[in-house]
Amino acid sequence: MSILDYFKPVSTWAAEKVREFLNEKTQEGYNLVDVRQPEEYEQGHLPGAQLIPVGELPNRLAELDPNKPTIVY
């Protein structure tokens, strides 16, 4: 990843929007990824969220389906 990647526009959703989305879909319909550290995840995470700390993400892309809408926090 180059430094320029940080400046690519990224879609952001408000928490309320995420809630509506998750309520409408079943789990097979999306990836929900918690990119924080395990200690933070343990203190509280969204139900069903998959833990992949941001630093490990590039090596763990295979765990996610690129064709599904993906929400990260």
Binding site: M1, D5, Y6, A14, V18, V35, H45, L46, G48
Partner: protein
């Protein structure tokens, strides 16, 4: 902003549609699941066998049954009593469902040793959904208001909802996937019922 960095990694890797949640977990004013390292993560190593997951779920359901049962005995509020009775019955059914699933998947008839034998590290006592000890929870709930108790139940049910969603992801056989899916839907329903009683409790207080 870790999530934005993550989103751009994913977009760069060709993911079709990526959204970063604004404000992160702090913006999420809803139920969050707590991870309990020894009760949760350890069992969810990729090598966890379906039989182990079923056994763990069974133990948690069993603990929850005991918790709800003693709540119906100690609480005075009729509506709450009724709800906990219902929840207890529902968790009983979950135990039966899990028992049958174990039988189907392992091809063995479960013995009375079934759940305990399957868990690599013996839990320290009756553990309920959320990985909390029943005895601790009961001790804690003595003298607490209904609101506090409901709050605890809400976090426990959130955790079990989270647990079944994850089991559904991990498990490979379709039958087990289906069962965990149903269980997670039912735990979600418990959550809704607890939430509605909880908000009622908040209304009467104010």
């Amino acid at each position: 902003m870790r999530s934005r960095a993550a989103a751009s990694v994913l977009t760069g890797a060709g993911f079709q549609e990526v959204h970063s949640m604004e404000g992160g977990i702090r913006a999420w004013h809803g139920l969050v699941a707590e991870g309990i390292p020894e009760a949760r993560m350890a069992y969810f190593s990729p090598a966890t066998r379906p039989e182990e997951m079923i056994a763990m779920a069974w133990l948690l359901e069993d603990g929850s049954c005991k918790f709800y049962e003693s709540l119906t005995e100690t609480l005075d509020e009729q509506e709450a009593k009724g709800l906990f009775q219902n929840l207890k019955r529902s968790e009983e059914n979950h135990k039966t469902t899990l028992w049958k699933l174990f039988e189907e998947i392992s091809g063995k008839t479960p013995t009375h040793e079934f759940p305990h034998k399957m868990i690599p590290t013996e839990p320290r006592g009756d553990v309920m959904e959320g990985g909390m000890l029943v005895s601790e929870a009961l001790k804690w709930s003595k003298g607490k208001t209904l609101k506090d108790i409901l709050e605890l139940c809400l976090s426990l049910e959130t955790n079990s909802y989270d647990l079944y969603l994850k089991m559904e992801q991990k498990v490979e056989t379709n039958k087990a996937k289906q069962v965990f899916k149903t269980l997670s839907e039912e735990e979600k329903n418990h959550l809704d019922r607890l939430t509605s009683l909880f908000s009622k409790t908040l209304e009467t207080k104010s």
